[in-house]
């Protein structure tokens, strides 16, 4: 079975803290993505990566950075967490073999910044 694993299901941090969200996939997928999901706004793309050490900004990259040192792992970093970054964060991955490839999601990390 396809597996995208996010390290924490719930996380509570304080304003100004540096926060790391980790995502690991076991399917040898080339492409990995970070989204945030907010009520009434749907999913918004933060960053994505199409290969190791490669990254592209999505729609809302401000306040975030990412790291992809190994193919299976894609980390989202909040350099200095703020309350408006309280959200559900979803990691996803897929192969880069063609347009029909499905996107597989992790179970999400609910981050609260106090």
């Amino acid at each position: 079975d396809v597996k995208v694993t996010q390290s924490s299901r719930y996380l509570v941090k304080r304003t100004g803290e540096k926060v790391f969200l980790e995502c690991v996939q076991d399917m040898d997928h080339e492409n990995m993505f970070w989204y945030r999901q907010d009520p009434g706004l749907g999913l918004r793309l933060i960053y994505f990566s199409y290969d190791v050490k490669m990254k592209e900004k999505g729609d809302i990259p401000e306040g975030y950075s990412v790291s992809r040192e190994k193919k299976e792992r894609f980390s989202l970093i909040l350099e200095s967490a703020s309350t408006n970054q309280t959200s559900m964060y979803l990691c996803a991955s897929r192969h880069n073999r063609g347009p029909g490839e499905k996107l597989f999601f992790g179970s999400g990390t609910q981050l609260s910044v106090l």
């Binding site: 080339e30 492409n31 993505f33 989204y35 009434g40 706004l41 749907g42 999913l43 918004r44 793309l45 994505f48 990566s49 199409y50 290969d51 490669m54 592209e56 999505g58 729609d59 979803l90 996803a92 880069n96 347009p99 029909g100 490839e101 499905k102 996107l103 597989f104 999601f105 992790g106 179970s107 999400g108």
Partner: protein
């Protein structure tokens, strides 16, 4: 910039009825995806529509794509309670880097009552 709009955003219907969820997108996007999300769970891929006129069906759900009208529909036939969920459509946004970031609609929260 690709924009994806779903309607309705909220739908309450009775079991046994038929209904359609609409997904409009703003620029050329010849790939359209449908996802389902149950409360507290992550997103599950339902359909990938790749070309104009594409139609896919699974059980009581049928999705179609009209690229000329920039419209996709998700039709529910003889609804049952188990189909209660939030449904998202997503369009394709080409980055030029080899990966594609999906742009999601805000989701349609569907409640099916006995």
């Amino acid at each position: 910039e690709l924009k994806v709009e779903q309607n309705p955003l909220f739908l309450s219907m009775q079991e046994g009825k038929n209904y359609t969820i609409y997904c409009n997108y703003s620029t050329t996007s010849d790939r359209l995806y449908w996802y389902r999300q149950d409360p507290g769970k992550s997103l599950e891929s339902l359909f990938v529509l790749l070309s104009n006129g594409a139609v896919k069906q699974e059980g009581r759900l049928m999705a179609s794509l009209d690229t000329k009208a920039r419209l996709s529909t998700l039709h529910i036939t003889a609804a049952v309670h188990d189909l209660s969920a939030t449904y998202f459509c997503a369009g394709f946004m080409y980055s030029g880097g080899g990966a594609d970031g999906l742009t999601f609609g805000k989701g349609t929260h569907l409640i099916i009552q006995p």
